[in-house]
Symmetry: C2
Subunit: 272 residues, 2 copies
């Protein structure tokens, strides 16, 4: 079983209103599970539900509190079902008090053929094989789950304190699962959170930092992701503002032929 499938596995029958997830040491950050796998677990709860129809379109995940190592309850509710779209709510609860540790809203929809147009262009990256693999053997476990090749904005510590001058928050890179896995919505969602906090890029050190809320929009259907296979994705990560202890972060992920597969935006806490 692929580590991502293990990390996002759910106990209980797919139609149950409450299922159970379990954190994975294979995707661990400083203080809890990697947010990308938590998001993918919430999405899995919806995709496996027998009443689900259509492909995921929009996923918003709010990280309410650190998830502690171990089990948590996954509450799944369909708030609305239309002819070709559905609105789902997911909530993770943990501990004796059953406090919410994560909330998510997930919209699914049936996509129809029609007029297509992509004004956005994939970043012009050097070929995958010509770039060195990012050395993540001694990184946090979640980082080591990804194959990363940076063309621009490679994470690196500055000599001391804040980098002088400050660096650009922008990174351009190839990204793929370290253990090859055909692309699907679960892995694409997890990858949309797999860019180092931009503040590390800007100041050259890792301050206390945590994503508060992440929204990912999918721009392709299941058959298009399947056709992409396990090839790396071209990605762009950037940020626009760091202000009064919160910052933003955005990402674009492109597949074969430069097709934009997903865009993502998050707001994160920092103390610098």
């Amino acid at each position: 079983m692929h580590p991502l499938d293990e990390a996002t596995a759910l106990a209980g029958a797919p139609g149950d209103p409450v299922r159970r997830g379990r954190t994975s040491d294979a995707y661990w950050t400083f203080i809890g599970p990697f947010g990308g796998t938590s998001a993918a677990t919430a999405l899995r709860a919806v995709l496996e539900h027998p009443d689900r129809d259509g492909d995921p379109l929009a996923v918003t995940v709010n990280f309410c509190a650190p998830i502690e190592r171990g089990e948590y309850a996954v509450h799944v509710r369909r708030a609305r079902a239309n002819r070709s779209s559905q609105h789902w709510q997911v909530e993770f609860r943990q501990g004796a008090s059953e406090d919410a540790v994560l909330t998510a809203s997930i919209v699914t929809a049936v996509r129809r053929e029609g007029w297509n147009h992509q004004p956005a262009r994939a970043p012009a990256l050097p070929p995958f094989d010509t770039l060195p693999a990012f050395d993540n053997r001694s990184s946090l476990s979640w980082v080591a789950q990804y194959g990363l090749r940076f063309a621009e904005g490679i994470p690196s510590p500055s000599e001391e304190g804040n980098a002088e001058p400050l660096r650009s928050p922008r990174s351009l890179l190839w990204i793929q699962d370290g253990v090859p896995r055909p692309l699907d919505f679960l892995s694409l969602l997890a990858m949309s959170d797999a860019f180092f906090g931009r503040i590390f890029q800007v100041i050259g050190r890792i301050p206390p930092f945590g994503t508060v809320s992440m929204t990912t929009h999918f721009h392709a259907a299941a058959d298009e992701l399947a056709a992409h296979g396990d090839a790396p994705l071209a990605a762009l990560a950037d940020a626009r503002v760091f202000h009064r202890s919160f910052c933003d972060q955005s990402a674009e992920l492109y597949g074969a032929g430069g097709q934009l597969l997903a865009t993502s935006t998050q707001i994160a806490y920092f103390r610098a």
Copy 2:
């Protein structure tokens, strides 16, 4: 009373788990209320709640179904309260079946002073007074609630069918409430949805179109919005992809001195 305050007013006591909203003819689209006022109404339900602490940071609104003219129930629930952040869920229900017509998640947080940095730059717009006011006297009622001055990408129909060549989805403009109102989170959230569907800009006609999900991140505290007053905001609206009946849309809103106040992204349905 300002039309925005009238459109977002809630009946029932601020601490009630269910309050009542009412659609406003002053902000009407083709088939329902303007999404920006619906989003602002959900936000008002949280901001007025006696247990709310901190400024809004992230708002995601899912438009589940058209809201019909008249009253609807506004369910408000605090899913999690931390020392300096809170996670709220809002749901609008309407009709005899009490079906969900809108869901929203709203994160509030206490902002602290610290290191600030804004890589993003406000668009270089010609001065407000030098640009003509967009003529919206015969527009949909919600459009007429805004003062708009376009520097680039002014909405205009093409002669017939799709524009040839296709136009850029990007618009640069000044935006303000038509009836002056000091900026706050309610008006800023509503404005983040006040850009015409980018597909109109690209193809030069208005096809069947509707926002499915919108996420707005705030990057300023209440005192900073208050200090801005009722001056116009510099705004950028853009889109990256139109694919298989769904498209994205993004916006940046800048205040005095070029401060980035809010960023927004949405995914919308279209049939073209």
